[in-house]
């Protein structure tokens, strides 16, 4: 996969980390994501998936947050080391 291309949170594999670069849109859903701490520069790790691959469980700011693929797809990231 081309790492220079735009990646979103839902494309991480389990155990992979990403650094948030942007959230698409500024509707209620986007604001809720930001309020939960998903902010530019923040590191997030995918730590689990529900049985059918959706929703996803992430680790950020020392806590665990679950998001649906659809919402996670709105969060652009860069791959972290």
């Amino acid at each position: 996969m081309n790492t220079a291309a735009v990646m979103t949170l839902n494309s991480l594999s389990i155990g992979e980390r990403g650094i948030v670069s942007e959230i698409e849109g500024h509707d209620a859903a986007a604001i809720r994501l930001m309020e939960m701490g998903i902010i530019e520069g923040e590191e997030m790790e995918l730590i689990g998936k529900a049985p059918l691959g959706d929703p996803l469980e992430f680790s950020l700011r020392g806590y665990r947050l679950s998001l649906r693929k659809q919402e996670a797809g709105r969060v652009r990231i860069e791959r972290a080391q």
Binding site: D27, A29, E35, S66, R68
Partner: protein
């Protein structure tokens, strides 16, 4: 005795911080629940004492943010601004945070600072945080924030006295400084404030500017009149041109401030490290193992409310029958006895009978919620709820509704999103509850041939299975319609915290049980009782019951005589059944049944079925006893009584055709699968939504749906046969 004016304090915090436990630890038994007009949220009020001073507490609903996007979320803002009628303006805010998750929990705290009220910051679950290896320099935190900071372990009652003292100290302190906002934002807020009446809170203007299309914007629009939204929009545009993107910028500067605040104050463990909670999740949210545990847990919960509640229900019914007999032995046959036994005692029984299911369900829910598993259950069930447009939080309430909608609807309180909660409440009564089963069994055994399709598939079993599916199938389009037309605006989101696992606290679990049981009895219970008595009266009046009472007295005399005159007694009983059947026909209920009879023709029903349906408004299962009375078999029949089945099989129209055919039996079953003949459900909806609107909507839509579907079943069935 108190020697000073009471101090008013408000508790607020994120979900999963143990705030309610802390509130209960503070207020002990002095708790009462309060509703606010027009919204579904409720607040709890309590009080406590410290150094002869009374502290009045209000517990606000758990929230992640104070940027209101619905009327429900606006309640907390109004209370904190002192703009809620009958709720005193709080002098102190108690902000409860999870000591092990400071960074995100403090986001709400930064918004509270904007209210310019003294705050007590409570680091709850202090022991869990310390065990995890987190440490906080409390003195430094107090210095940097200039607010009172206390640590508590609410589930163990540790730190409660410190907290009370801190609340009293805070009342005499000045408010702490807010998180600085960019100069351009400050200028914009001040410019907007000049166009608003004096006294409009800075907080409201600030939120109006920051929350695009939020509740604050709507409120300001009403205060200012004219086109205030337009001004807010241009103010936001100017900010964006100045490089401050609303709303993203705000969350950014708040979180930056939190990080600076915590630097050198809070030492957390390595965040990349897996916690014990993560290791439990490896199993409990595992693709195979997790699903297995989930299925077994849900099966256990369902089994408990469907089966284990049975003996307790029988015990209650037995007690009710015993009390009825006791009353009857003192009170001679007559209106007083009927009122006491068939009205009042039956009414109380119809309320108490729900307690076993409610308590059992909440026993499980409280344990699962308190230990953190409910969030995992929602996580695992989320995809299953997608066809309904709901999220995983709705799974347990809807599943429980297959046993009984009353506890199921009460369980929707675990759904955070208002819209999802409302849709779940409104479709829960469609799930085929255990009270429908007797109706299905009666009609299936009496009218569906005992045949096997292809030699192995029982036709009767197929019909029973189909009846359980009918409601679920209709729930899908109805949920869609509700989301599309009734609850627009708020988008359904699944952004859910997965709290750290912990051992459930027996105190918390038992407290929750007591609260739920008590509230049901006091609030929904009174309404259910009243409905029962009203329906009793409609079935009793306006006819003259003298003859019936005389026969009853003769029967009782005959039963008491030695030796019992069997032949005479049998004659009297038969006579009594005939009179009872005539009386119900001539009662208000019977007249209503006759009046709606023409409307029932398309369903293939006669007036007797109509009377039975109306009489079963308090509870579906009553239809069987009502049928028994109408067919002069007495009210003590059940679904397996051969006499009732025979009477129904031999019932004829005036022209000699049988009334009950397979299409009619199916049409009655479909009707009962979809109708809302359950006063308890409607009253619980009233209680949970805090409005008469929703029980009325439920009754109307379910009755219409049941009528149309039953009619279609009959017509199609007749056409096919």
């Amino acid at each position: 005795m108190t020697n000073a004016a009471p101090l008013h304090a408000a508790l607020i915090g994120n979900p999963n911080t143990g705030k309610s436990t802390l509130f209960n630890a503070l207020s002990g038994l002095n708790v009462r629940t309060g509703n606010f007009p027009g919204v579904t949220v409720e607040a709890k009020f309590g009080k406590t004492q410290h150094d002869n001073r009374t502290i009045q507490l209000i517990d606000l609903p758990g929230t992640y943010s104070l940027a209101p996007r619905s009327l429900d979320e606006m309640v907390a803002v109004d209370v904190l601004l002192g703009q809620k009628a009958n709720v005193p303006h709080p002098q102190v805010i108690v902000c409860v945070v999870d000591a092990g998750n400071l960074e995100r929990n403090l986001y709400l705290f930064t918004q509270l600072l904007d209210l310019h009220l003294p705050i007590v910051l409570v680091l709850n679950m202090w022991d869990t945080a310390q065990n995890r290896g987190a440490s906080v320099d409390l003195d430094e935190l107090r210095k940097r924030l200039s607010v009172e900071v206390v640590t508590t372990i609410a589930a163990k009652g540790v730190g409660i006295e410190d907290l009370k003292a801190a609340i009293c100290r805070a009342a005499d302190r000045a408010a702490a400084p807010s998180v600085p906002r960019p100069a351009a934002v400050d200028a914009a807020v001040q410019a907007l404030q000049k166009q608003l009446p004096d006294g409009t809170a800075d907080f409201l203007v600030y939120r109006g500017l920051m929350d695009v299309d939020g509740e604050a914007e709507k409120r300001l629009g009403r205060i200012a009149g004219g086109n205030f939204s337009e001004q807010l929009r241009s103010a936001r545009e100017e900010l964006t041109n100045a490089g401050i993107r609303v709303p993203a910028a705000e969350t950014r500067w708040r979180y930056d401030w939190i990080r600076q605040l915590l630097a050198g104050v809070a030492v957390d463990t390595d965040r990349r490290q897996r916690t014990p909670s993560d290791r439990i999740d490896k199993i409990l949210t595992h693709q195979v193992g997790g699903v297995l545990v989930f299925a077994l847990t849900m099966l256990l919960v369902f089994q408990a409310i469907y089966t284990w509640a049975g003996p307790l229900v029988e015990l209650i019914e037995g007690l009710q029958a015993f009390l009825g007999e006791t009353v009857s032995s003192f009170v001679p046959p007559g209106i007083l006895r009927s009122l006491l036994v068939d009205g009042a005692l039956a009414g109380v029984g119809s309320v108490v009978v729900f307690l076993p299911q409610i308590l059992l369900l909440f026993l499980f829910i409280s344990i699962l919620e308190d230990c953190g598993y409910m969030a995992r259950a929602a996580f695992l069930a989320d995809r299953m709820m997608a066809p309904l447009g709901l999220n995983g939080r709705s799974f347990v309430p809807l599943m429980s509704s297959f046993a009984c909608a009353v506890p199921g609807i009460m369980a929707t309180r675990t759904i955070e999103n208002w819209r999802d909660r409302m849709v779940t409440i409104l479709i829960a009564p469609l799930m085929s509850c255990s009270a429908r089963l007797p109706v299905y069994v009666l009609l299936t055994t009496a009218f569906i041939p005992d045949e096997f399709l292809g030699g192995w598939l029982s036709l009767r079993a197929l019909v029973l299975f189909g009846m359980h599916l009918v409601g679920l199938v209709f729930a899908v389009p109805i949920a869609w319609v509700l989301r599309k037309w009734f609850f627009r605006g708020e988008t359904s989101l699944f952004v859910m915290e997965m709290p750290t696992y912990k051992w459930p606290s027996p105190k918390v679990v038992l407290g929750r049980l007591k609260e739920q049981g008590g509230e049901f009895l006091m609030q929904a219970g009174t309404l259910i009782f009243c409905t029962s008595v009203v329906v009793w009266a409609a079935g009793y009046f306006p006819e003259d019951h003298t003859a019936q009472h005389e026969i009853q007295a003769q029967i009782e005399a005959a039963q008491a005589s030695e030796p019992v005159e069997d032949a005479r007694l049998a004659g009297l009983l038969a006579q009594q059944r005939v009179i009872s059947g005539q009386l119900i026909e001539q009662s208000f209920l019977g007249r209503m049944g006759h009046a709606i009879a023409p409307a029932l023709r398309p369903l293939g029903w006669d007036w007797k079925i109509g009377v039975a349906v109306i009489a079963s408004f308090p509870a579906r299962e009553v239809v069987i006893a009502a049928m028994g009375t109408i067919y002069s078999l007495g009210g003590e029949v059940d679904e397996e009584t051969p006499g009732l089945q025979d009477a129904m099989r031999s019932a004829k129209w005036p022209d000699g055709r049988p009334i009950f055919t397979i299409p009619v039996a199916l049409s009655i079953m479909v009707f009962f699968a979809l109708c809302s003949q359950c006063a308890a459900t409607l009253m619980v909806i009233k209680r949970e939504t805090n409005s008469w609107r929703w029980p009325i909507v439920t009754f109307v839509y379910m009755t219409l749906l049941a009528y149309v579907a039953a009619g279609a079943t009959y017509q199609i069935g007749t056409w096919m046969s």
